[in-house]
């Protein structure tokens, strides 16, 4: 018997390691994700990601500059029109905001201050079959902290998961471990939106709640991470389970995450 163990020492060690990993995963299913060595790994990978990202952009931006010069005039005209429209919209919004502030003051509500933000550049996008994260080029030295919201003008992207002075990792809203407190914009019904890799899903929604395809889901602000009212996802599919009292609602994020290059981190 000792001879058997001696002979197959490596295979037994390997089996023990596999069992240990399996046990580790089963613990995390209940207790939540362990974050061992997350910061050192981010420090090393972030350092090299900056170098690779910088070199890649230095090479491609030269060629791209010439290619895109042709489209610049047309783009400029379009942007001028867009600017005019947005200025008009901005004036209307400012009026409404001022009116809203006056009414809130009358009602004794706390004054609303838009949170300060930092523009960040995406330097790395992870591609794993079990998670969705991105790396950005700013960190705690710019005031960024854990659980700060990451957004674009279109809607929310995710939240800061790990921070270093010059780099941060963002957990995207499509990550399976991500949850966002949302509300259906049309009828103010609330729910928790979970990431499902390519899309998101609202779970445990009562069978009788009125949700339709095309409904816009916005942040409810109840999770304490995302400010209230930001667009999150659009409902694409509603599955009613006859046997249970729930329905599953699938939604696609409003932000095309694969295409974003910059985003804003809201500082609390």
């Amino acid at each position: 018997m000792p001879g058997f163990f001696e002979k197959n020492r490596k295979y037994i060690a390997m089996l023990a390691l596999f069992l240990l990993l399996f046990w580790l995963v089963t613990i995390q299913v209940k207790a939540g994700r362990f974050t061992v060595l997350e910061t050192p790994v981010l420090a090393v990978s972030g350092f090299f990601e900056r170098i690779i990202f910088g070199s890649y952009h230095a090479v491609f931006s030269v060629g791209r500059g010439y290619v895109f010069l042709v489209r610049t005039e047309r783009e400029n005209l379009r942007l001028k029109n867009e600017l005019g429209r947005l200025q008009l919209e901005n004036q209307i919004t400012n009026e409404l905001l001022a009116e809203n502030e006056r009414l809130r003051t009358l009602l004794g509500f706390k004054k609303l201050n838009p949170p300060a933000s930092v523009v960040v550049q995406i330097i790395g996008k992870e591609s794993s079959p079990s998670s969705s994260t991105i790396t950005v080029n700013k960190g705690s030295s710019s005031g960024i902290g854990r659980d700060h919201a990451v957004i674009t003008p279109d809607g929310i992207v995710g939240r800061i998961q790990a921070v270093l002075p010059g780099t941060s990792r963002v957990q995207l809203i499509t990550d399976p471990g991500s949850t966002v407190a949302v509300r259906v914009q049309r009828n103010r019904e609330e729910g928790l939106l979970e990431g499902k890799l390519d899309r998101c899903a609202l779970k445990y929604v009562s069978y009788y709640v009125d949700i339709q395809e095309g409904d816009l889901l916005v942040t409810s602000g109840l999770d304490g991470i995302y400010p209230k009212g930001l667009p999150v996802a659009v409902v694409t599919k509603v599955r009613k389970h006859e046997a249970s009292s729930f329905q599953t609602v699938y939604a696609d994020p409003v932000v095309r995450i694969s295409r974003i290059e910059e985003s804003l981190v809201l500082l609390k």
């Binding site: 596999f18 994700r33 061992v36 090299f48 690779i52 979970e194």
Partner: protein, 170 residues
Amino acid sequence: MRPRVYLIVFLLLIPLQASLFTPLSLGGAAPDLGLAVLYSIGLLTGPIEGAFAGVAIGLLLDMGSASMLGFSGFTRGVVGLFTGLLGRRVLDIQSPSNIIFLFVISLADSLFSALFLEITYGSVPVFGLFFGRALLRAATTAAAGYGILRFITEKRIVTWIRRRELQKEL
């Protein structure tokens, strides 16, 4: 295999995947560099070293992402073990059939991950992920893996990587 090779792999795997390979994705699916590199390691070293290398690479990926610590370690360890057995008993490192094997392994990896997430969290669109993402991912990973194998064979990098074992054999 040389410790220096492992050091290079561990240092550059996540940055290369995140900054270079994923932005060059095809239809939203990028080649899985970790799997492609692990496949090459498994073929070159054998089942035991392949499995341990797989666990190490997987744990590194877990720590560098938002997934549960140990999940990729487990799946990549199994992949390393399997490719090690494959290399020892069936496959030649230069064979084009490596494309098919790596394609199948990548598909199995994605499918296992999707099923695990479905069991753990529920409501994961397994079929949608399989046809929308896993197939493309497997195709790009197989191409990347075969490219790596061709590169290290043609540039005689295999000899450099395996110098220690070759010295032992002599």
